[in-house]
Amino acid sequence: MLRFAARRTILLAATLALASVLVFALTDLLPGDVGRIILGPFAPQDAVDRLNHELGADRPAARRYVDWMAGVLRGDWGRSHAFDTPVLPLVAGRLGRSLVLAGAALVILVPLSVAAGVAAARREGGPLDRALTVAGLAVGALPEFVTGVFLILIFGLWLELLPIQALAPDGAGALQRAAHLVMPVACLSLLLFAYLFRMTRASVIEALASDYTRTAVLKGLPERVVIRRHVLRNALPPTLAVAGAQLGWLVGGLVVVETLFKYPGIGSLLHFAATNKDLPLLVGCVIAVTGVFALGNLAADLLHAVLDPRLRHADAA
């Protein structure tokens, strides 16, 4: 187990290093000129050239990478070109906020879709199964800006039940913060429900039809125990792998949801950095998101190992 974790940690460090190299190598290919983007289309060209020089944007990518790496090793992640503020606190603050949203969404979503998946699988083809499958698919097929706007119109403007902006005012209590997060969490849950639900449902159906389940039932175990100990243990790993893979998107890819609900997280920061060629900010965001993505997959794999004794034993052997 320990060796497994150590190997994965080394792999993670290599992934992050590779991601940072890629960002520096590819940024030169992005369209536009950072000095021009900051000063605007009508600034004189010599002002743009001077700013590019000040920012170091006129130096070759390899040289900038070495300087950046030297800074990071000293704990200095550089300054954002466009915002003119240090990268590290900005990225850390946004990452924390994104993790709160993603965490809340997963806490609601995973138990809900697993429970629904098990319930639907036990009565395969029944009315509940059909209703959940159709409804989940229909809602999941809508893009998030449609679902989100509908939620805002219904619960924010029409019923006036929930705040439409996800960021609570400074000094708000925990309950108020939670109320502000309800709509974006609902939007994300609606979006991903069908995915996780179908995955669970299919795995549970397969596990229910297996020999070990039949043996367990014939052995005289109560149904509750069969589901928990035999069916779920075998059916959950694929669902968890999918949920782990979604974590990267939930943290780094929520540009639309963050913009719509005015919840600036790392997704919109990443988007801004890429469209504005803000290299120090971009690489900071990419490292943060890649790190979360890799850790999410690592957590899913570890959970899988906990659920599946074969994996544990294979590793120990």
């Binding site: 983007i37 004189p44 001077r50 466009a82 706007v149 439409i164 504005n276």
Partner: protein, 529 residues
């Protein structure tokens, strides 16, 4: 039917240009057998601001604004950053929506040497937020900083006639600007958005140490999120400001701003386009205010390259545009028709020039004369901003009957700005400048960096020099008319309309004005809660 349609659009154009009264238009249209519904013409009169009333003190005003990049006043260029900085720091003068000048940090100004030297007298007893008095030294340092090549300010382009040592302090409360050439309208140039007055020792760290003389103090600023301000109790213009607190939220896209306004999460949307303003018009609890502006779009044609090196081809292009239809279709009528020169009706100069009307037959004849009887094919570049993509698509349709086959290249903004002065035909947005000379100089002077048409015309340059230097409005109008006529004849760019800038507010917001440059002055704004 087609003939009748184009006759109607000509009438609409005449009406929009102000040469045909509304009644005259309705009568003439009826003569064509067309009965116009009062709808498109019977709009409520333009509301320039929310009601003034007797101000009440207190309250927090929340504003949704477009995105901001750096908020360093010397470098800033984004509309969100302009709104943030304008609460904290102030200009020497402020141009009102009707373009009259209100004294702010300067109380008096006068030209000498025929407009080459300008002397500004400063307001006394003005203090910066850190308690220090504002003096001539601060004003001198603020302007030197803008034109110093070391500081890489976008303002240097607009103030090209000012050298750092041209700004000097005469005494503690008098500043002298010695310009390279006479500029008749110089006070307006002290109102460009970078030209706020900062302490002489300002070190480029506005986000960390925001010090100005403005009505509000910056309490906190978070990139991409917003800024919080509190009332400056020592503001020089008592009893202003009336609000206790201001919060500016930065938004990447328009839709969440409108939703926030409807739900009451914000009370003002700083700026929006007609496309996004529909829900505001339909909601009785919301107010849409608008300001005439010099904002326009230039469809520039490379005059140094075939086919646009022939003036007949450029004139043919201009004849294809049905400007009245564009104003209706693209901007819901909230614009005035343009005549291929940038001296908008908002400016005090009166331009006396016949409006160009669409005429496809003549356009075809001109193209044939120029050697393109079957038309030609051309790439039109523009970018994803405002109504530009739809404007370009409409241009494509309107040029087709003359045989001009347009390939649309709609690009992301950052890509377009990288090569917009090189493309054969480019559609670019130009925001309002306080004086028309500034736009003329930046986009059409032979040596201008942003002369996208590559138009070199000695007569234009001479006229512009006279226009810039003239301090008398009557003479400036006459020169302006000559410039407009020359541009209308030469068509370096098609300028189809001048838009109005829009701003939306909830009913309880009073004393808020729209602004031709989308500036945000909240010193007189109050809440009727």
């Amino acid at each position: 039917m087609e003939a009748r349609g184009s006759a109607l659009s000509r009438l609409l154009a005449e009406h929009a240009a102000g040469r045909l009264s509304r009644r005259g238009l309705l009568k003439a249209a009826a003569g064509l057998g067309i009965f116009l519904a009062a709808g498109p013409l019977g709009r409520p009169a333009l509301a320039q601001g929310t009601p003034q009333g007797t101000p009440k003190r207190g309250g927090t005003l929340k504003i949704a604004a477009p995105p901001a990049t750096t908020i360093d006043p010397v470098k800033l260029n984004s509309p969100g950053a302009i709104g943030i900085v304008q609460q904290v720091a102030e200009y020497l003068v402020y141009a009102e929506p009707d373009l009259s000048l209100r004294p702010v940090l300067a109380t008096r100004w006068e030209p000498s040497e025929g407009g080459r030297v300008w002397t500004f007298e400063l307001r006394r007893d003005v203090r910066f937020h850190d308690g220090r008095p504002m003096t001539a030294a601060d004003v001198v340092a603020s302007f030197r900083r803008l034109v110093d090549p070391e500081s890489a300010s976008p303002a240097a382009g607009a103030l090209s006639f000012l050298k750092p040592d041209g700004v000097t302090a005469v005494d503690d409360h008098t500043v002298r600007f010695a310009l390279d050439r006479p500029i008749g309208d110089f006070p307006y140039f002290t109102h460009i958005y970078n030209a706020v007055i900062l302490p002489a020792d300002y070190a480029g760290n506005f986000a960390e140490k925001p010090v100005g003389t403005g009505p509000f103090r910056l309490v906190s600023y978070r990139p991409q999120e917003g800024a919080v301000f509190e009332r400056n109790p020592d503001y020089w213009d008592q009893p202003k400001p009336y609000l206790d607190r201001v919060e500016i939220q930065l938004h990447e896209t328009p839709q969440p701003q409108i939703l926030a306004l409807q739900s009451g999460a914000v009370q003002v949307v700083q700026q929006l386009t007609w496309l996004d303003a529909r829900p505001v018009v339909d909601d009785a609890g919301l107010v849409l205010i608008e300001a005439e502006s010099g904002d326009h779009r230039q469809l520039a044609m490379r005059t140094d390259m075939a086919p646009f090196d022939d003036v007949r081809v450029r004139r043919a292009v201009a004849l294809c545009f049905d400007r009245a239809a564009m104003v209706e279709g693209l901007l819901g009528g909230r614009a005035s028709v343009g005549n291929d020169h940038p001296i908008a009706p908002i400016y005090p100069e009166r331009i006396d020039l016949a409006q160009r009307s669409p005429d496809i037959e003549q356009a075809r004849a001109l193209l044939a004369e120029a050697g393109y009887p079957d038309g030609f094919e051309v790439d039109l570049h523009t970018h994803q901003l405002l109504e530009l993509p739809r404007h370009a698509a409409l241009a494509q349709q309107m040029l087709a009957p003359a045989g001009i086959r347009v390939n649309l290249k709609v690009e992301p903004s950052n890509l377009y700005y990288g090569h917009w002065t090189e493309v054969p035909m480019g559609l670019t947005e130009w925001t309002s400048r306080p004086v028309p000379a500034l736009i003329l100089a930046q986009s059409f002077r032979s040596d201008a960096e942003w002369n996208a048409a590559h138009w070199k015309n000695q007569r234009f340059d001479d006229l512009l020099a006279r226009f810039e230097a003239e301090t008398d409005l009557g003479k400036r109008s006459a020169t302006g008319t000559e410039i407009a006529a020359l541009m209308n004849e030469e068509v370096p760019a098609v300028i189809a309309y001048f838009v109005r800038t829009l701003r939306a507010a909830r009913g309880e917001v009073k004393g808020l004005e729209a602004s031709m440059s989308n500036y945000l002055d909240l010193s007189g704004t109050w809440l009727d809660a």
